[in-house]
């Protein structure tokens, strides 16, 4: 095959790979391993301030972030984290993020078994229907997504502006396009210089083999001519002058700058609740055909009031006990329906657990979502322990949040 045929063939293959790609949709988080989604970060009380916004409008995501105590440490320890916004590309601009009211421009460290309030402010940039999640990036591991909601952005993409005023009074009319001309010019200048330099060395045609032959025959002296040395010297002068000029002119135009921050912000978790409901896993079975996770749990009520189990949440799926009014009220209008299990949570016995008592209860969380959200593949993972948060409520609606985790064994018996 000659060069032209090879070039034509590779071009055709490249075009074929572009033409025959499938369209991408949302819910890429389903590709993450189930134990990652269940035993790392739990997001709850998540709200989105709007369902529909115009380009340039802001939305706010709020809620709580819980860092699972039974983190899969055998895979990766929790190090630096970065609070972020999970969307399909830059369709929203992240304006501000906070953990417990501490601005999160930089990374931070969070603790196992602790809870944090989060707030994310974002500005709509691209029209369309977008799936918007809170997200946290884990150093050396990757992103962990919270629940996602479809947000409609109306308007015209060309109308997007992002104005800013710096601390020393410089007004930036639109950060999206500010100084783009300068960026292109500087890049073009250095690219041209680079191509001229490369061109100088390759201008005489075949250049690698002749040089190689000169080296192996001990004729290094013919590799560089006087003209080569003159051009090299001129280029060094041009490069040094260009760098100096760029630095001096930029410093004179913008004398007050601060470096990109490489440190970490310190944030303290929310205080632990002195009164807690403690839950211990006793037995876990996943009924494969019925798509049902059945757990036997030992619950110790260390609060001052009798409590009932109101909600079981894992991997952003919510199973709500319809018999607990406070739990039902905890699902706000407009919460993504695909994350709420239709049949809810079945608890046996469902009577309130008095203060100080330890009781064994069985919990059934059944829904096709275990399969459609690709959580049932937990059974085939090397680490097949589930993880979940349990919400207990007393008669006044006061909530206690507990963590539970343990192995779940697949079963095909008793539909």
């Amino acid at each position: 095959m000659n060069r032209l045929q090879f070039l034509v063939l590779t071009t055709l293959l490249f075009i074929a790979s572009l033409i025959f790609t499938s369209p991408a949709a949302a819910h890429g988080e389903r590709n993450q391993e189930p134990f990652l989604r269940m035993r790392t970060t739990h997001w709850y009380d998540v709200t989105w301030s709007a369902d529909t916004v115009k380009v340039n409008d802001e939305i706010e995501l709020r809620g709580r972030l819980y860092v699972f105590a039974d983190w899969p440490k055998h895979l990766f320890e929790l190090q630096a984290v970065y609070l972020n916004l999970g969307t399909n590309g830059p369709v929203f601009i992240k304006v501000a993020t906070y953990l417990n009211d501490v601005p999160m421009m930089q990374s931070t460290e969070v603790e196992y078994g602790k809870t944090y309030d989060f707030r994310i402010v974002a500005k709509a940039r691209t029209p369309g229907r977008h799936h918007v999640h809170p997200m946290i990036n884990i150093e050396d591991a990757g992103p962990l997504l919270g629940p996602g909601k479809w947000i409609e952005v109306t308007g015209n993409a060309d109308d997007f502006v992002y104005p800013l005023k710096t601390l020393d009074g410089i007004t930036i009319p639109n950060l999206e396009t500010w100084q783009l001309g300068t960026v292109f010019r500087v890049h073009a200048y250095w690219l041209i210089l680079a191509f001229v330099w490369l061109g100088w060395w390759f201008r005489r045609g075949p250049s690698l083999l002749p040089r190689f032959r000169a080296l192996i025959t001990g004729r290094e002296d013919i590799l560089f001519t006087k003209a080569d040395r003159l051009v090299t010297a001129a280029l060094i002068v041009i490069v040094l002058f260009s760098v100096a000029y760029g630095m001096i002119s930029t410093n004179s135009k913008y004398p007050r700058t601060s470096a990109l921050q490489g440190g970490r912000v310190r944030v303290f978790p929310l205080p632990d609740n002195a009164e807690q409901v403690v839950v211990r896993h006793a037995k876990g079975v996943y009924q494969v055909p019925g798509r049902s996770l059945q757990l036997t749990l030992r619950v110790t009520n260390r609060t001052a009031q009798a409590v009932r189990l109101g909600e079981f949440t894992a991997a952003n799926l919510r199973f709500v006990n319809q018999g607990v009014p406070a739990a039902v009220a905890g699902v706000p209008t407009g919460y993504p329906e695909d994350l709420i299990a239709r049949n809810g949570l079945v608890v046996t016995p469902d009577e309130p657990i008095p203060p100080g008592e330890t009781r064994e209860i069985t919990v059934e969380a059944a829904d096709a979502a275990w399969e459609t959200e690709r959580l049932a593949s937990l059974m085939g993972n090397p680490d097949s322990s589930y993880g979940a948060l349990l919400f207990f409520f007393d008669a006044q609606g006061k909530r206690s949040v507990s963590e539970v985790s343990g192995p779940a064994i697949p079963s095909f018996t008793a539909l």
Binding site: M1, L13, A16, P289, R291, A368, E371, F412
Partner: protein
């Protein structure tokens, strides 16, 4: 044949293989059930359900799509990918593939009457005593999905796999032998 014939032929075959693999395929050999983007789907009109088959007594680790590997106790679970399905009645029937569907009752081996399943999953449980060819009929609302399938295909599938890889190995070996002969 020129000396470049074999490498060129290999290059063309490779290109077509690559393009063919890159292109999405819609197989309809099993009617309403097919593998799409690594997910086994059953289509009934506009509705899409996730189809998973199990034979826990003969192959507990295996999930199957379309044909059923062994005879015996079989579970088929249909998970609703569309939330609207949770409010619609779903009915299932398995009939022998006799080619004549004028009297369904006579050829029915399994029937689950229509019911609503708000949990989002519909389960078919049946024991196939012998190998054979069957047709599944799933009615979702007023939409019907028809999917022919075979029972007891495990041995045949293994034979097909062995035959394919043997043919591929022979083909590659033959091409290399021809190329080497030409070079010599």
């Amino acid at each position: 044949m020129t000396a470049l014939f074999v490498p060129r032929l290999a290059g063309v075959l490779f290109a077509f293989t690559f393009i063919g693999l890159a292109a999405p395929r819609w197989c309809s050999g099993h009617g309403g059930v097919s593998m799409e983007n690594d997910l086994c789907k059953l289509r009934a009109g506009p509705y899409v359900l996730h189809f998973t088959g199990y034979q826990p007594q003969s192959a507990p680790e295996l999930e199957f799509c379309e044909d059923i590997p062994d005879t015996g106790y079989t579970l088929i679970v249909l998970d609703y990918l569309d939330p609207t399905l949770r409010d619609l009645p779903v009915e299932a029937r398995i009939i022998r593939d006799t080619g004549d569907e004028s009297d369904l009752e006579r050829i029915t081996v399994y029937h689950k009457p229509a019911a609503v399943y708000p949990r989002g999953s519909f389960v078919i449980e049946h024991t196939f005593p012998e190998p054979g060819r069957f047709v599944g009929l799933i009615k979702v609302g007023d939409q019907v999905s028809r999917f022919p399938f075979a029972v007891g295909t495990r041995g045949r599938r293994a034979l097909m796999l062995y035959t394919f890889f043997a043919a591929a190995a022979l083909g590659v070996g033959g091409l290399l032998f021809l190329y080497a002969s030409r070079r010599a």
